[in-house]
Point group: C2
Chain length 225, copies 2
């Protein structure tokens, strides 16, 4: 148990939709139960904040099983991390491969991001925490998705549309960072904003749903000349 020596007390009222791809919770075997339990604990308490014993107890198995299926705690974490990362990147990169006008691509991009993150709201914090403590490894994983190619393509669209006077004078990189910031950060701040304002998870979901539309307007007004 993580009770005794933890920093601060923690009520644990985070929105409980874990980024579980399968969904076959009930019929799952030991291996899947371990993955599902570990995902929840790693998301909530981080890698160092979660012990293999916590995972074993909470999943109703034992520490030997974790090592049997995943060789080590690190091995288990990597399985979960890659799964989360893949969810986040695959669909976004598909949208960015389009050849339509930048303003339209950006709108699809925002829609896709928000739809995705409403479903998996804890992924951003999870990935950012891991990235902050292990930039090298996370960067290696990012590179396996060929971000440079995706960037070049998008930069091409920006140059094309700027040449036609459709959008303002922003470099592609700055646009990308702005979009990612506007889409991802509301989810990273989510738990804190909810705590401060005292609103429920459902009410925050409603807010996020409306916020998405404002972000789309905001970006379109900013981008289009």
């Amino acid at each position: 148990m993580i009770v005794s020596k933890r920093l601060f007390s923690f009520a644990g009222e985070i929105t409980k939709r874990s980024f579980n791809m399968t969904g076959k919770d009930s019929v799952s075997g030991v291996r899947q139960r371990i993955v599902d339990t570990a995902r929840e604990l790693f998301v909530e308490n981080g890698f160092e904040g979660t012990s293999v014993r916590d995972i074993a107890n909470a999943s109703g198995t034992n520490v030997a099983m974790v090592n049997y299926y995943f060789q080590s705690k690190t091995g288990l974490f990597e399985v979960i991390f890659k799964e989360a990362f893949d969810i986040l990147v695959t669909r976004i990169f598909a949208v960015l491969g389009s050849d339509r006008p930048v303003a339209d691509v950006v709108e699809s991009w925002i829609n896709t991001y928000y739809d995705l993150l409403v479903q998996y709201p804890q992924i951003p914090s999870f990935i950012l925490t891991a990235a902050s403590h292990n930039p090298s490894t996370v960067a290696g994983l990012v590179e396996s998705y060929n971000p440079a190619e995706v960037f070049e393509h998008f930069a091409g669209l920006v140059e094309r549309d700027r040449g036609q006077g459709l959008i303002g004078e922003y470099p592609a990189m700055d646009i990308i960072i702005n979009i990612v910031s506007l889409c991802v950060f509301p989810f990273v701040m989510g738990p804190l904003v909810r705590k401060i304002t005292g609103i429920s998870a459902d009410r925050y979901d409603e807010f996020i749903h409306e916020h998405k539309e404002h972000v789309i307007d905001f970006v379109r007004n900013a981008l289009v000349v």
Copy 2:
């Protein structure tokens, strides 16, 4: 030492400006050396990822000294956390107390945020990680700064300027979340972006400096009708 069992290898090339307020590194006593060392380790490896022994060794003291000055590891962490938080909030809230036009307040806000975060680039990740694992306590600290009052004031400005047709139809909360996202997130992503693009800390600082101006343009174009 945190070497043997750590997750992934870690080169540790994060920009090394720690959010040290005093600056009296050289003449500092034991207490200050512990705080400075602990800050760096907590920022890089998190609370659970840092041991009191790490802090004692790296600061050239011993574990007994840490407990002598700070009672516990948690006590030491809280000192550092509050210091970081105060740096981030105090100056921003001062800017938001203005009565000038929203577009001008927002521009000052962005300038203040970027100036501050260029100086203390690791604070956002540090606070967000702590907030993600302990929303209740962090929220308590936030509330001691009276955010509701600051929000109401800013919402008043938004309503006033919208009545005069100066800005578009965005609710105040959505504007705030957008600004915070656009200012803070580039620093949270910084280490990862640098790793992927391979650019140096200095070069990233240059990029951030230019990016600030694009954010100001971006927001002004989005906001002003």
